[in-house]
Symmetry: C2
Subunit: 501 residues, 2 copies
């Protein structure tokens, strides 16, 4: 490597440090900050984002990127590539466009809160039109700079290296069978005895203690992270300081518990990144798809399995001080509660069988919005029609329809597909892991996550961004990402009701 490359490493280490500062301030905003500080904090964060942009787009960076020679080391080469990608994204857009987008999304977000509540699409149409118009400008400008189609340019922001041509065949395979599969699953479920609900109340301190116990059981290092409470659960924080949040309902502990397990999947990924590269672009976690695959692998693939439910049931009884003979607290019923399927309007409440339907609809529609094929005014009817086709439901109002999610009002187009790509990746990774290390699920049945975590560390976490998401999936599982492992998993768990699912 040469001096220019080393200068870039120092430059990007500074950015990494700034990212940490922003990460902690964002966490603080959601968890700790007193309400009266909101406006000022927004200014503070905008200033830090501005600094980040300035540092990333400083003229010296372009010069250094021209001159840099990383040598033969795979990691350094990948690091330089990732620097180039970040720099290209940051310099693709004129300052006025960034500014206009920020303002438009801020306005639209505000309007969205009321519009969603009132199911009033007409109210958001003008501001959302403006957001869409600017997002298309961003997509075209970024695409031109990176040599990508506009939609691929948006995808690349969230999931470096993923292209529409990767997604289309996979989602087509999935969509083809989904309505029938859901029908079969529901029929099978209806022939089984109904799951017994668990009755509370479940005190928050006990739920919290359970969450902490489970986090650590999965491998979370409490000296390098925290568990707290926020309105919208997330996993954030900074390097060596991974902070996840949940929210508690005293009548039902399952949502908080599964939320903690989900966020712990994210956290374990961040905690497993290679220490030597933590302050470089190549040392960061892969894009949204890989990140979501790690949370869903834990939450959906593993922690809703019969194997885990068997270990979990007595722990739950102990956590809430329930006599061992109480009805409903056995492993079989717990498993049934954790795998109940119910088509519904709300994406974030969906089970793993019906969830992809929400994403398939969003993906198809956002491609059409970005290309201009779908006029924004026609979005509600198009959305409702597709939901009906996939889930058999009639959307009663736009608040429970196309307005339910904040993503598009926030300008996040190209983000939705990562959720389902993550679910498919989780299934394919787990299938491969269990084939390569057969003791993974027997160990889970004893509450031992070390074989699974060891495999994930080696095949996913430790690779960070040294390879692309498709390459990491290919190397770990022996094939490109497809929907077959996910479909096989749904088949075994929800149709065959197999003991090992």
């Amino acid at each position: 490597m040469n001096k220019a490359y080393l200068s870039l490493e120092r430059h990007f280490a500074r950015l990494s440090s700034l990212n940490d500062a922003i990460g902690i301030l964002c966490w603080d905003k959601e968890v700790i900050m007193p309400s009266g500080a909101a406006e000022r904090r927004a200014e503070n964060l905008a200033m830090l984002e501005g600094l980040r942009h300035e540092i990333l787009t400083a003229p010296v960076v372009a010069e250094l990127l021209e001159q840099a020679e990383p040598g033969d080391d795979v990691w350094r080469r990948a690091n330089l590539e990732e620097m180039r990608r970040l720099h290209a994204h940051a310099t693709a857009l004129p300052g006025e466009l960034v500014e206009a987008s920020t303002q438009a999304t801020a306005r639209c977000e505000m309007v969205w809160r009321t519009a969603r509540e009132n199911g009033d699409f007409a109210a958001i149409l003008p501001t959302l039109s403006e957001v869409l118009r600017l997002t298309r400008e961003v997509a075209f400008a970024t695409g031109e700079k990176l040599g990508l189609s506009p939609y691929d340019a948006l995808l690349d922001t969230f999931d470096p290296g993923t292209r529409q041509t990767d997604i289309d065949p996979v989602f087509t395979q999935l969509a083809a069978g989904l309505p029938e599969l859901i029908g079969t699953v529901l029929e099978k479920q209806n022939n089984l005895p109904a799951a017994t609900p668990l009755s509370g109340p479940f005190s928050v301190p006990r739920q919290e203690a359970l969450g902490r116990q489970l986090m650590q059981q999965l491998g979370f290092d409490v000296t390098r992270g925290r568990l707290d409470v926020s309105t919208h659960p997330f996993c954030g924080g900074a390097t060596h300081d991974v902070r996840l949040t949940t929210r508690y309902d005293e009548n039902d502990f399952i949502p908080a518990m599964m939320g903690v397990l989900h966020e712990t999947g994210h956290a374990l990924y961040d905690m497993g990144l290679p220490p030597a590269w933590l302050s470089q672009p190549v040392g960061q976690a892969g894009g949204m798809t890989l990140h979501e695959s790690q949370s869903l692998l834990m939450e959906m693939q593993v922690c809703r399995s019969n194997a885990f439910a068997g270990w979990l049931a007595p722990k739950l009884q102990a956590a809430f001080d329930v006599p061992t003979t109480t009805a409903g607290w056995d492993a079989q019923n717990i498993h049934r509660l954790l795998t109940h399927v119910q088509p519904g309007f709300i994406r974030v409440d969906a089970d793993e069988v019906t969830y992809p339907a929400h994403i398939l609809v969003r993906y198809e529609l956002e491609k059409a919005l970005i290309s201009g094929d779908l006029p924004l005014a026609d979005l509600p009817s198009a959305f409702n029609e597709r939901i009906h086709a996939l889930l058999g439901l009639h959307v009663p109002d736009d608040g429970r329809g196309c307005l339910q999610d904040i993503h598009w009002p926030e300008g996040l187009f190209g983000y939705f597909p990562c959720y389902t790509l993550g679910a498919l990746t989780a299934a394919q990774l787990r299938e491969a892991a269990c084939k390569q290390v057969p003791q993974i699920m027997p160990a889970i049945a004893k509450g031992d996550f070390t074989p699974l975590l060891g495999w994930l560390r080696e095949n996913v976490h430790s690779r960070a961004r040294s390879a692309s998401m498709p390459q990491i999936v290919q190397d770990a599982t022996g094939r490109k990402l497809d929907a077959s492992a996910y479909l096989a998993h749904i088949q075994r768990r929800y149709v065959e009701r197999a003991e090992d699912a």
Copy 2:
């Protein structure tokens, strides 16, 4: 005003935002951060400090300071002056000196922890010598740039505008009478019945609830601040987000309670700064002396008074669910506990009568260390001799002597006098306030702090840095700072044991 001045305002608003980010990250480090993140957080903070220095010393700032015309507005003029002062401090030192100082103090701090524990001055002598050598370089370089003596240059870092010539006569007046005064106070105290200790345990949640109640009673706005726990209590945070901390002892609630009242005094100052100037240098709180005067005015002057003890006693009984007839929980005994005098070795544990002795010693010795008149090797004997002269105590080891405080190992010379200047200022401000607004203390006797807070807001808080500390004291009290109000206060409260003290 001209364009250059307006550019400076924008430039310094950015710095203010960066200060907020640093404030929250420092708070997080002391209160929230998991242990494994310590090293990384230190890097993050060093990076942000580096950015702050870069922004403050950017070549454009020097140009703008040359060209700026603030117009006739007093605040803008004072703002430009304060910008010039900050810029002069930041550009006075070559980068290598700043770097060397940072490294030397970091090393010395580490050595200090063990040396204090072992009372081993010899162990710290080499690293402390290096810190002193570099601090003297800093003092000479800064002094040259600002046209100040080396010691005044250090003072100016913590307390803009305060000079050794202001302090010397005041401290001389104080030192002259202190040993005799302490003797008289102790004699008087010995002739009174001993205070009855209150017996616990006092649960942390109850202590915390009491702290929150008292904070709000004093005027703390909970929508713009927080109360938390940390090893070393402090008041920090950011604009519109004032965060204070305390620590709890289940056997004695008084230290935590008085700590909260002290930090609330700091917090009320920050919360009372003029909103229009919050992101400018002129809108910041005055230096250390004024800040400490606000905490000591609340904690010492007001909250250890008979008036406040009368209101407090039944609140304490309610807070800890103590039957009203329990011995010791009456106002008179509470007041006696809050005003107990006991010469001791440890500065931070000292009462308001003996506290100045510790500062007088530090002040005299640090002046001699900076001037070179006192060789560092002679510090322990000089320190012990002065403590004996003022407090009549024989220091048993350097851990309880000159090594007890972290300030000098951290390179903080010129900081100690602000504590006692703050105590004297608190007394003089309170004397003036009560003369001008006679209902202040009768209101306090009913738990009503609004007349006092109103006076402080008008005469201190709202002035921010629009005038110097000496000017603010002069305007508020009609004279320069001296020791007379403090001495009169000690006389009335501890010698005469007056009802109104």
